[in-house]
Amino acid sequence: MANVSGNAYGLSILSPIKNGRVLGAEIAFADLVRNRLQAWNNEINSPMALVPQTYLCRLYVLDDVVTESLPSGSLPDTWSDLLPVVPDSLRRDVMPVQDKLQSRYLVFCCNFYAGPSGTPDAYLRGMWEAINGRIHEIWDNCYGFDQVHNADNFITYMKKCQLTTSLFFNGSTDQPLEEQLKALYMKQEFTQFAIDNQGLSAATIRANYREFMQKTQINDLQHRTWQPGKYRL
């Protein structure tokens, strides 16, 4: 099924950025968007780390499609080389025209936990509630975003910009984010446990293991876990 892989959802959004320049400044809307996005690199963490259930996401400004330049050996080329009767004009006619986009686009690709619903609605609602100020800073520069004032019309807007996703980031399971973060934490802690308890007696390991389970609280997904967006020890 498109966009869905188990409980994971792949969201691909292309929002056309307004043509022209920002009022009162010598910068294009698209360049302002790119500049703001690049400034996120200087923050402690990405604003997207505050959006619940985010696995991996990417934002960038798409300027234009890439031209493939001259094709090599298409059928009319080959026939034209072999048979003088095939006119050169036919060969020229079928050469591809250079494609161009009508606007520059803000591209937002995201893999997240959508659950059994298989829809992006809950995620987008969560995104709006967490960081709508930051969303405005970026998306206000796109066509039609002046209609967006709340979570509902944000969801409507995003669905209008949505493209079907078939490729997923493969570094994750499709569990809820809290479970994956807890799993990472448990894996780290358990590795250390294994090292520390190597070669000890069964009785000692059993006692230490009880302590380990007390300390790590495997069922508590809110505490003793990795924080979303954490990328270094």
């Binding site: 590795t191 294994a194 090292i195 190597q198 070669g199 020890l233």
Partner: protein, 540 residues
């Protein structure tokens, strides 16, 4: 084998590890250029003595092995000072241009391995120009076959070797003098007791007055070396050294993996500077001085060896993938019992059979690492066909198997990461209870593409473990293990997943090896040397 290479055009150092051919001692001298034209005259004089890769022997086209060998290589700065045209210079690889020191973040040369801790010659290289290393000259001295039996004969031979080495060095100093200051020998190599020398001294490790093939941790070294197309005296040694084929045979690797101007494993010519004659039959050389922390190694081995089921010597074998005493590969001798059997066979085998016992193996029957751990030195620096691993639902936990059909050949993931190794140990261990003596190895790695071969293996397979499903676990022996307890290194020694055994985890692995210097060099062909000397390199 396809057409034989022009052996007389290739420097001997590229095709031969001289240590294996009866040259137990060497000196590596580094020089800087003060005057381009006189430097070229110096190069011309040296080139007339350069040792080629010609076959040694008694055949009609053979030459007898010389009393001492001469080989030469250049840094980027050196090629500039020699007056190579800019259009040729820009064709060398970016990493060669940049030099090894400035690539420390890629190579993991941090903490004790950082350039500020390097020997003065390497610390001062590429800082102020006056002390830039421009030229590398290797002088290897032969120990002639003993004319008397026993220890006496060997010792006399070694005395002769020392005499040859002094002769060679005297010749070089003489040529330098003739340049009237155009060429200067650089000092700053740390020797014993902090003394600074104007050469790097290397020699085989001696045990009871006899030369060994060991390094200072006690391992037999220099066994595996890639075999590639076009070298007639290597053909018979292809099993285990070339590339593994699907039908169980071994084929020589493509020449272009190790020599510029020849087709490589991707069926292309490797990127090379212009004109063709400058690059063809030449190669890149990575020179690294690696200090060995013998005390840390001994202490760690003792500490873990007490706990490790199988004991200290088996544990030492697990670090590297070979047993220390004779280099028996763990894949063939995974435990004490099979090692004893191996030793019995080895003792009565001919040299050729011994060679095959040491090199001819695959990891095909060890895909889960029970014999040779995933973080062992051998497996990380040359995984053979073992990277094409995976598991399917229902497989035993911890077990991996070869995934067939995903790649063109079994060795597809490692064939382009092979490296020729040259060099010898340096120094002596006078006190095994201390780390800070003068002892280690000089390793020179030859490859057609420094970044794709050496730097990749260093960064991805030695200092990182993801390709081995080992997260960021480093290679046990060479990894840049951290002393910071937050980032303590570990390595898992796998066991047979079907058995009741428990994997053993090595923790808080100390850094056994520290970088003390090095640089990237270009080792040209004889043709290129003559052209550089004559000043006729012209890329137009």
């Amino acid at each position: 084998m396809t057409k034989e290479l022009d052996l007389l055009d290739i420097q001997g150092h590229v095709l031969r590890a001289y240590g294996r051919f009866g040259y137990p001692k060497a000196r590596y001298i580094f020089l800087t250029i003060r005057h381009g034209e006189r430097a070229r005259e110096f190069i011309a004089a040296v080139t007339s003595k350069v040792t080629t890769a010609v076959s040694w022997g008694n055949g009609p086209d053979d030459l007898p092995p010389p009393a001492w060998t001469v080989n030469i290589a250049f840094t980027y700065q050196g090629l500039k000072e020699l007056g190579l045209p800019r259009a040729s210079l820009i064709g060398f690889s970016p990493e060669f241009v940049e030099g090894m020191k400035h690539r420390k973040d890629i190579l993991g040369d941090d903490g004790p391995s950082a350039p500020e801790n390097w020997d003065p010659i390497w610390r001062e290289n590429r800082e102020t120009r006056e002390k830039d290393v421009h030229i590398f000259i290797a002088l290897n001295a032969a120990a002639p076959p003993p004319t008397e039996t026993g220890l006496v004969g060997i010792q006399k031979s070694l005395v002769q070797c020392d005499a040859f080495l002094e002769q060679a060095h005297a010749w070089l100093r003489d040529e330098v003098t003739k340049s009237h200051g155009g060429i200067v020998i650089l000092g700053g190599h740390r020797g014993d007791d902090g003394v600074l020398l104007d050469y790097q001294d290397v020699k085989v490790v001696m045990e009871n007055g006899l030369p060994t093939a060991k390094e200072h941790f006690g391992y037999t070294d220099g066994i595996g070396d890639p075999v590639f197309d076009g070298v007639p005296y290597d053909e018979a040694r292809v099993r285990g050294r070339g590339k593994q084929m699907a039908d169980g045979s071994w084929a020589p690797l493509a020449t272009g993996e190790f020599l510029l101007g020849h087709i490589d494993e991707a069926h292309e010519y490797p990127p090379a500077p212009r004109p063709i004659l400058l690059a063809r039959n030449g190669t890149y050389m990575v020179y690294r001085k690696l200090h060995e922390n013998v005390a840390s190694f001994d202490n760690y081995l003792k500490l873990e060896g007490k706990k490790y089921p199988g004991g200290e010597e088996l544990l030492a074998a697990k670090f590297v993938g070979r047993w220390r005493d004779n280099g028996a590969p763990l894949v063939r001798a995974p435990d004490l019992a099979s090692k004893q059997q191996f030793d019995q066979q080895f003792a009565v085998a001919t040299p050729e059979e011994q060679d095959r016992m040491l090199s001819d193996f695959t990891y095909d029957d060890d895909m889960s690492g029970a014999k040779c751990p995933f973080s062992a030195h051998l497996r990380r620096i040359n995984p053979r066909a073992s990277l094409q691993m995976g598991r399917e639902p229902g497989d035993l936990p911890g077990s991996l198997k070869t995934i067939k059909g995903a790649f063109d050949t079994p060795g597809a993931l490692s064939n382009r990461r092979r490296i020729l190794r040259r060099g010898l140990p340096y120094g002596d261990v006078k006190d095994r209870t201390k780390d800070n003596g003068n002892h280690g190895i000089i390793i020179m790695m030859l490859n057609a593409d420094i970044n794709r071969q050496f730097e990749f293996v260093q960064q991805q397979w030695i200092n990182y473990g993801n390709d081995f499903k080992a997260g960021n676990d480093k290679e046990i022996m060479l990894g840049n293990h951290s002393a910071d307890p937050r980032f303590a290194s570990k390595a898992v020694l796998q066991v047979d997943p079907a058995s009741e055994d428990v994997p053993y985890i090595l923790s808080k692995i100390p850094r056994f090896v520290e970088t003390r210097g090095g640089e990237y060099f270009f080792m040209p062909s004889l043709t290129a040397l003559r052209m550089i000397a004559r000043g006729v390199v012209d890329p137009t």
